[in-house]
Each structure stands twice: as C-alpha cells, then as structure tokens.
C-alpha cells in the first residue's frame, strides 16, 4: 500500500488488513453521501444532481496529484505503478453498455452492492441483472472473443500515447475539473428539482 509497504515501513502482511479497512471506510462514505439512492446516481444524466460527476473528478484529481507529489518526494516510483491494459474497442463498447445500464438501473456495480447492504429491492434486482449479463457474456464468448482480445495497445496512459508533459496535463485537468464543477452547479440551479 502506497509509500508504506514498498519502503518497508510496515510489514507486508498489513496489505490485506489495510485493504479491508479502506473498503469499510469506502462503503461507509458511499452510504453516508447518499450514493445508495438510485435517483441520486441517475441524476447526472437528467441534470438535477451532479454528485457522481463531482465525486469522480475529485477522486481522479486528488489521486493523481497525490501520486505525483509522492513521486517527486521519492516515496513512490511512477514507473513501477500498474496500469490497466488498453483494449480499445472493447473498452468503448463495454463503456457504452455500462452507461446504458447505469442510466436504466440507476446504480453502478459498486453502489449497487452498497444499496444491497441497506436492503433496497431494486439493488437486489440490479445484482441479479449483473449475474444474467455475466452468463450471457460467457455463453456468447466465442463470438465476442476477437473483440475482447483485439486492439491491444499495451499498458499505456494518455501521457505515454501523446507524449505530453505530465505536470501540465495534471494542471489543465484540475482546471477542467473546477470548471466542470462550476458548470454543474449552474445547471443544477436551472433544472427542476426531483424528489428523492
């Protein structure tokens, strides 16, 4: 975990315990900010509640700034970080399908489990829908397989592909985040409020 374990400040076995603690804290924060309500989550697409947008942007900006500061101070090594492999068309099509599921159901997979924990019935149906989707995918895997494994561009980042300066990219990204928050607030005042 972070700069603690690779620099041998605490023993390696703390990894799992820290993971459990972070997971508990994450679930707590998710529920406390009201993300178990499907109306709040689907509000991004209808324009009356932009909490999801703000959470995502804040998480991305805080983590990228934190990582780069720790890399600058020497606690972390950016080149050793794991980057997800990029399968181009699989990501695009999968993202589109997930977007449809998000708006239709009003949950992400993570928040659906959160809502299951508090006993909402639509979350149970959502999880059941996830399982049906997995089943359909595994049955049709022979047809989907070239899409699934194709266009493999490696474990690259935006910074690698376009050769941007990472620090300027982070700066511009956080400016965009602040502008997005302001626009979201502006839109939220104009749209009719929905009871949830």
């Amino acid at each position: 975990m972070g700069p603690l374990i690779p620099n041998h400040l605490i023993p390696l076995e703390w990894n799992n315990i820290i993971a459990i603690i972070i997971g508990i804290a994450f679930g707590f924060v998710l529920e406390a900010s009201g993300f178990s309500s499907s109306r709040k989550l689907a509000g991004v697409f209808y324009g009356y509640d932009f909490a999801v947008l703000k959470v995502f942007f804040t998480a991305a900006v805080v983590s990228v700034i934190g990582i780069y500061y720790m890399d600058y101070l020497g606690y972390l090594d950016i080149t050793q970080l794991y980057v997800h492999p990029t399968y181009l068309w699989a990501a695009i099509i999968g993202g589109a399908i997930m977007g449809v599921g998000f708006v239709a159901g009003g949950f992400c997979p993570g928040t659906s489990l959160c809502a299951v924990a508090i006993g909402k019935l639509d979350a149970w149906i959502y999880v059941f829908g996830i399982l049906i989707g997995i089943f359909i995918f595994s049955e049709l895997y022979n047809f989907i397989e070239p899409l699934f494994n194709g266009d493999f561009l490696g474990n690259i980042t935006l910074i690698d592909t376009f050769n941007w300066n990472p620090y300027w990219f982070i700066f511009i990204f956080s400016i965009i985040a602040i502008i997005a928050f302001a626009v979201a607030d502006f839109v939220q005042k104009k749209v009719k409020k929905v009871f949830y």
């Binding site: 900006v61 700034i65 600058y72 700066f171 990204f173 956080s174 928050f181």
Partner: protein, 220 residues
C-alpha cells in the same frame, strides 16, 4: 434568511477548495524537477554483482575472434603502455580512469554490440563493469581471468596428463588450434628443430597467418 446565509457560506467554501486545488496543481507544475538517482536501484546492482553471469571464459572469446564474430566489442581497461605491449586482437583501449567519459560512452552505452571488459586479471575489468552497470548500460561482460588466463589457456595451453577424460584432450586440441591462429608457432607443426616454443605477440589486426583446421592432435 438563514438559507441565503448558508448558500453564501457554501459558495465561499467551494471557492476555497477550488483555490486549494489550483494551488496544488500549480505547485506540481512549478516545482523544480531534479534528476533522481541516475541508473539502476542499489538492490538490483547488488544482485547483478553477486551473480556470475557476466563472465565470459577465454575459450568463448577465442571462439568469437576466430569466427570473426563482430558482435562483441573488446575493451581493454588497462593503461596505454600495457595496451601497446600486448592485447587481444581488435581491442579498444579505454583506461579505467576514462571509462565514464563522453568518448568512451559511444562504445559502452549502446544496445547493439556486446561489450567485454578485460584487463590483466578480473579486478579492473570488474570495476569497469560495476561502474557501467550502475548507469544501466546493457550487454556488459567481463573476461574471466583476463589476460593472465588468456595466456595460460589459449596461448600456452596446459597439456593434459593421461588420467584426464577425453574432453580435456579435445579442449587442449581446440586451444592449441586457437593459439596457432593467434600466432603461436609450434615446432612440431612447422618442422623447425628448436628446443623452445617461439611465442610471437598476437597482432592487433586479425592476420590469418597460420589458420589450421581444428583437428585433434594426438592419435594420427
């Protein structure tokens, strides 16, 4: 009234947070970038030093030179006088003091050719290897035993006694053939009736003076 006040405070809070974010991101851009440790990490250097896979034996080097295998660059890390007295054919002289210079890095810091360091024995060439390996150069090797072992095995191979296995005799035959390639004259091969072996120093260019096929010597 209260709602208006809370709305004002909330707006101020968000502006404050946005300002902090702006400062942090700006700081990341403006902080002076410095070069962290150049080269590989200490643990990796240690594991490289301990493993013995950098050594090339003299037989392998002789094999490469005789086959005119141009994939290896031989670098002599002794000083100029020793280099001018005797060295391996086609070797470049980069004294150990100058191994990190710009002109030396042309030979050392490249990925195409293998680089073989050698000196009188392992020590200086190992030092050169450690220095270059620390900087992360690739394809570095060290001639095990250096010039001393080169003399003792290739130029002047020890004759095996009768109780050694057949491989020792084959090895002696190949070594004797390699030594003839490098200019050693054997009296019984040439027919000169001299009592001692005439050792010529190996020439700097590869002159194919006496290139015989590697046939086994004994048991004709």
């Amino acid at each position: 009234m209260i709602k208006k006040q809370t709305a004002k405070v909330l707006a101020l809070r968000y502006k404050f947070l946005a300002f902090i974010l702006f400062i942090l991101a700006g700081g990341l851009v403006l902080l002076p970038k410095y070069q962290k440790n150049e080269g590989i990490k200490p643990e990796q250097l240690l594991s490289n030093v301990i493993s013995s896979e950098r050594y090339i034996s003299t037989d392998q080097i002789a094999h490469k030179i005789i086959n005119q295998d141009r994939s290896a660059i031989l670098i002599d890390v002794r000083d100029e006088n020793s280099f001018n007295k005797y060295t391996l054919p086609n070797a470049i002289n980069i004294p150990l003091k100058k191994i990190l210079d710009e002109e030396a890095s042309v030979y050392v810091n490249q990925n195409q050719y293998d680089v073989v360091f050698f000196s009188n024995d392992n020590f200086y060439s190992d030092q050169a290897w450690v220095l270059c390996n620390r900087l992360g150069y690739k394809n570095l090797h060290v001639l095990k035993g250096g010039i001393n072992r080169w003399f003792n095995t290739i130029i002047n191979p020890p004759k095996p006694t009768e109780d050694m296995p057949e491989e020792a005799f084959n090895l002696y035959a190949t070594r004797k053939a390699s030594s003839m390639y490098f200019g050693v004259v054997y009296p019984d091969q040439v027919g000169i009736k001299t009592s001692e072996l005439v050792k010529k120093t190996a020439p700097k260019q590869i002159i194919t003076v006496q290139k015989k096929k590697k046939a086994p010597e004994g048991g004709c």
